[in-house]
Symmetry: C4
Subunit: 233 residues, 4 copies
Amino acid sequence: MSSEPRAGAVEKQTGRLESFSDGVFAVAITLLVFNLTVPVPRLLAGGISVSTLGSALFNLWPSYLTFVTSFATILIMWASHHGIFKLVYKADTPFLFANGLLLLLVTVVPFPTSLVTQYLLTSAAPLACAIYAGVFVVINVAYNLLWWTAIRERRLLHPAVTDRQVKRLTRHILLGLPVYLLATVLAFWNAYVSLGLCSCLWIFWAFTFYERSPSPRPLTAGQEVETAPESDA
Amino acid sequence: MSSEPRAGAVEKQTGRLESFSDGVFAVAITLLVFNLTVPVPRLLAGGISVSTLGSALFNLWPSYLTFVTSFATILIMWASHHGIFKLVYKADTPFLFANGLLLLLVTVVPFPTSLVTQYLLTSAAPLACAIYAGVFVVINVAYNLLWWTAIRERRLLHPAVTDRQVKRLTRHILLGLPVYLLATVLAFWNAYVSLGLCSCLWIFWAFTFYERSPSPRPLTAGQEVETAPESDA
Amino acid sequence: MSSEPRAGAVEKQTGRLESFSDGVFAVAITLLVFNLTVPVPRLLAGGISVSTLGSALFNLWPSYLTFVTSFATILIMWASHHGIFKLVYKADTPFLFANGLLLLLVTVVPFPTSLVTQYLLTSAAPLACAIYAGVFVVINVAYNLLWWTAIRERRLLHPAVTDRQVKRLTRHILLGLPVYLLATVLAFWNAYVSLGLCSCLWIFWAFTFYERSPSPRPLTAGQEVETAPESDA
Amino acid sequence: MSSEPRAGAVEKQTGRLESFSDGVFAVAITLLVFNLTVPVPRLLAGGISVSTLGSALFNLWPSYLTFVTSFATILIMWASHHGIFKLVYKADTPFLFANGLLLLLVTVVPFPTSLVTQYLLTSAAPLACAIYAGVFVVINVAYNLLWWTAIRERRLLHPAVTDRQVKRLTRHILLGLPVYLLATVLAFWNAYVSLGLCSCLWIFWAFTFYERSPSPRPLTAGQEVETAPESDA
């Protein structure tokens, strides 16, 4: 009988917080499609034909590039959010508000995405790309804040979480900060390099994410907590 | 065997209601991003350059202010909704409709947000800000209604919920009403003061929310019900 | 050991179907807010002032009316959907497709809503209102289809569901059909009467929904299945 | 005690991944409604009346056709996604990214849908329809990739999943590839035939999906895993 309250004590209490966050991530990532706008038929240069539509669609490449970059970045963010919540089993007020700040920034992403789409081929591209990378800097800071509110005094972490797991995730979350800062600064020198850096970072991340996990027990959602006691034993 | 039906009797029966509500909150809060519109390249005063884009983006500050205010307010609403549903374990028809009214009002928020964004710098600002604050008055009334349908005769509350918890949440929900009423009235005197009050209220709320919870057991989601019996013992 | 498979056999297998449906309902109901469009400042008749904005907002009343009507109707639909899924514990292919048809129609609702908003004050109002009511006729047919795929041979129903429960829900779902049909036909005689009927039907429904449930055990989500065996005993 | 970790080992660890995916599917499918745009009153040819509105609405038939086709196709995709996740109980990094690629493509669907809607009646229809079918080709490839990451070495599959189940789903997922490829190629010969093929494929799929499941135990969500051991015994 006394074991039940204890079992209850380490039960996840963040279910609804996660489902609300998932909803915000899902809507924000899907709204990015509004970044892709179909060329208006009567505005096609040279009349409507397969070739004029083809070239009009080809000229939309900045919007495809930013769409894929923003989508992949939000996806990585969601995976990181998921990674944090795997180790957390309860929430206090600062954690709740740090999560709120993060969600605010995630919902903002379609705005700089659209900004870069519309200004990449103009002389205002440096500012657009700097803002784009700058938003990711701020988002990264928010992630560090969220993670910091979770680990201080370890009050919110699942009891089975090891120090090694905490350190690993801390490093993982800090990883993006210098790169996005660099991308922000570089934008004023060359907007394309800045955007390229943002576009590549998530690929790099995906790979480090993968290599870090030894083959029989990959670092994935839902597994960390369970494997932790075993790797200590 | 007889203990099982009883355990079932205090089981949460509001799961799908919560997940639907979470969905509505998540979509409504994410749609606020449409309040941020990228300046149209060919309409930039003085041609397209880093400085003209910069000043055009700077001039969008009313939309940033209303975006953050509305986002934070919906977030606090979600937290309050979460707080109410933590104590409730079943739903009857009036509760269902009170929740529906609340959701209707939450989905409306992007409308007054956009109204203030477009009229804050015009002579129609008082009306726009009064409507903005007025919507929050009505939302607050809807919260009180929802909470009232939950606590009358205590039929819908989890059996372990204490009177102190009920009183605390009642006070918490009533808190916003006079302030939003004040903001509504003040709008006709000074629109900026009214908007400022709405922008600050959620910060104030976040802090009272926080201070109210003594350090080892913060007032958070998922913990109320469990701690209640202990604090009585 | 043999009791476990049986317990598993009556376990809900429709979890993800419900959460997907909830998502669609939540997005569709929230998108209705796009029906409310802020008057464009430079198009205000008589310049920008509190009174011109006030009258412009007042003139938007058709959009408020259709917004509230569509919102309330989708909400009632969601409650009915919830009511059906409370009694269903597994899904087969026809049920899956009937549910898909229903979701398609639910996502369509913003379209006729916007149609009525834009044409209510014009001479094309009869057609707009007929289409509006007509969509609800088709949705009602889809509900009956969904329910029929669920109850034929009772294969998909939870074993504890009684015949009385099935009959009651059958009646409840059929209720709207004649009224919406009437509203569709009446639209060509008087668009306002048709729209008024649609606006009132959900109020009427909310009340019948309520009165049908005796006080200690209201007819609500999550309770039907549990109370059924007791009311038979 | 030793049975508990094992029980834990076959527990679904993909809950949040599924709920996030459900959210993306639900938002993407609901955003298709933006494909339906109400005719602007002042642009109606011949003034505003029941008959001019009627013919304007009739002329929107390409948007109805593409809306229904895209909706049904995303719905089938969701059902397939659901079918895959029924057999999978944990996720590794490649699986996570394959799922991310799939979600990216699902959110893209509103774009080619709108493209076909606007160009079906123009001379650029072949390109629009080829892109439409082409997107479904790529989505199908992404499905095969997702399924392939799930089944290689069977690491991610539930232990009770049989080889027959794997083969059946493999065939089911491959089914669409040649047809969508054909539709892509045919588009340059006749856009209507291509679109018709896309519109019919989901109907065909729904039926094969159905016939494949013998009557007492239909092939549906949540049942596969449970029935597998029994059909082997």
